[in-house]
Amino acid sequence: MGFEWIKIPYSLLTLFIVVNYGLLLNALIAKIAARVGRRHGIPIWQNYVDMIKNYGLRTSITHGVMFYMGPVFRLSGGVGLLLFVPTIYGSVMFSNLSFAGDLILALYFVFFGTLGMALGAGESGHPYAAIGVSRGLAQVTAAELPFALAVFAVALQYETLSVTEIVAAQQGSYLNWTLFTNPFAVAAAMLSFLGSMMRPPFDVVLAPQEIPIGPPTEYHSSYLALMQTNRAIFPIAKMVVYMNLFFGGAVSWPIFFVKIFLIYMVSVLVGVVFPRFHVEHSVRWFLIWAVPLGVIAVAIV
């Protein structure tokens, strides 16, 4: 896995595509959610405008070094996760920087952003930020367990930890996706996917209006802009991992866009329907429903 310098422009290209796709996808999803409520919904390019406006704001305040670096941790977590996992299977251009680490790197790099964001929110001195972080961390422990079990089951099934090999094993017809070869693992993973997407059943962390948007309460102007870029990249990066592991990866960008959209719709559909869980309910819910699936997946693989 020698390091070729050409990988950098290629990964920047992937990053550019994914950022734009992310912003448009978020807007589209918001519009679909609006249309469900028979509202016209935001224009597709609204995310771009919001980002430019936030970058363009003239003043900003800072509570300290950690507060300043919070969004940087967050965004580098999102970008890193995206770049450490190959997006398009088979193409050298879009295998990004996946030579650095395998599936486990992706699994643990998710926490890099969360930890940085938590520290930044903590430095802001706002009690709601701390409450939001404590809820988020508490929920993530239960949400991560089924995903870890699913990943372990998949790794056992394909006898490898490198993402490209897992995707390679799922090529051919859609029948040999992990979805069909190991449905329990996919079920557990998708349930934990709901937990990590900050959508209504499990969005007690941000809980808009309740603890005014939780951790990012004190963030504004360019910090918020960085977070918005992350909100575009991070879900996509996470879904890339899900796609590669469970849904046969993407051979070309159109397939990539469709699959990501469909995976995203899973959390949207669930999110639009359900009310918000308390933290203990969501922890209990994961341990009761999602973990047994994961255990079965590991047991039968």
Partner: protein, 254 residues
């Protein structure tokens, strides 16, 4: 800078009483006199106190100085080149984030904007729970002195550029509370207002039309209320302190 007023389309101009709807122009001047020395007695938690730190060291704690940043607001120049400023103004116009702080009876009018019938989201308008992330502060109706104190604090916590829209006549000339002992009569003296939307509570359509006007002003670069507040900060502060008797907070709440 002339103030555009917006008539309520539902009434024809004939039925309106012949009241001069254009209040005399209020020009913020240099501050007349230094603000009166703080008369009230600070609440217990803000009084200066000495605390024994670990290892017996004596610590002088002056809450207003130690807990709050005392820097005054500064006038923020626009971006260097005009093109960039126009782009930013366009972006600011297209994505107005309103602070979810309903100060008066007009707040109920803003709720329909979130519903399918009026749907302000089409215009990039969105409600944000925290002043940090808000750009527009809608003062919806009469403003009692107590609410003014909170409104000032929230306004000051918003980031430059920020806009204020006053709803209804109560913000223009006191409206039906013109002789009330505890409401403020002219919002303009306390906060730099960019736009008034008249109507004893303008309907959602009026609000939308008002917001369209505001968009035009922002795009034209006329909505520089934040800089005006910073420029004439002392004048505004003097007016505010004259009305708010229990002033127990720093001059500018960052």
């Amino acid at each position: 800078m002339d103030k555009k007023t917006h008539k309520d389309p539902a009434k024809t101009s004939a039925e309106l009483p012949s009241v001069d709807l254009n209040p005399p122009e209020v020009q913020p001047q240099k501050p007349p006199a230094p603000p009166a020395e703080r008369t009230i007695e600070l609440p217990e938690e803000l009084r200066k106190r000495t605390v024994k730190g670990p290892g017996g060291v004596e610590i002088e704690v002056e809450p207003l100085r130690d807990y709050y940043c005392e820097a005054p607001p500064t006038v923020m120049p626009a971006a260097y080149s005009k093109i960039v400023e126009d782009l930013f103004n366009w972006a600011r116009a297209e994505s107005i984030w309103i602070l979810g702080f309903g100060t008066g009876c007009g707040a109920i009018e803003m709720r329909p904007l979130m519903t399918p019938r009026y749907d302000a989201y089409r215009y990039g308008i969105q409600w944000r729970p925290t002043p940090r992330q808000a750009n527009l502060f809608v003062i919806s109706g009469y403003l009692s002195v107590k609410t003014l104190k909170r409104a000032i604090r929230s306004y000051e916590q918003m980031q430059n550029p920020k806009y204020v829209v006053g709803l209804g006549s109560c913000t223009i000339n006191g409206g039906m509370y013109w002789d009330s002992y505890n409401t403020i009569k002219r919002l303009d003296e306390y906060l730099p207002v960019d736009l008034y939307i008249t109507g004893c509570m303008p309907r959602p359509e009026a609000l939308l039309a008002g917001f369209m006007d505001l968009k035009r002003m922002i795009r034209a670069g006329e909505a520089e209320g934040a800089n005006k507040y910073a420029e004439y900060f002392d004048w505004y502060k003097a007016n505010q302190k004259r009305v708010i008797k229990d002033w127990d907070m720093p001059d500018y709440s960052w």
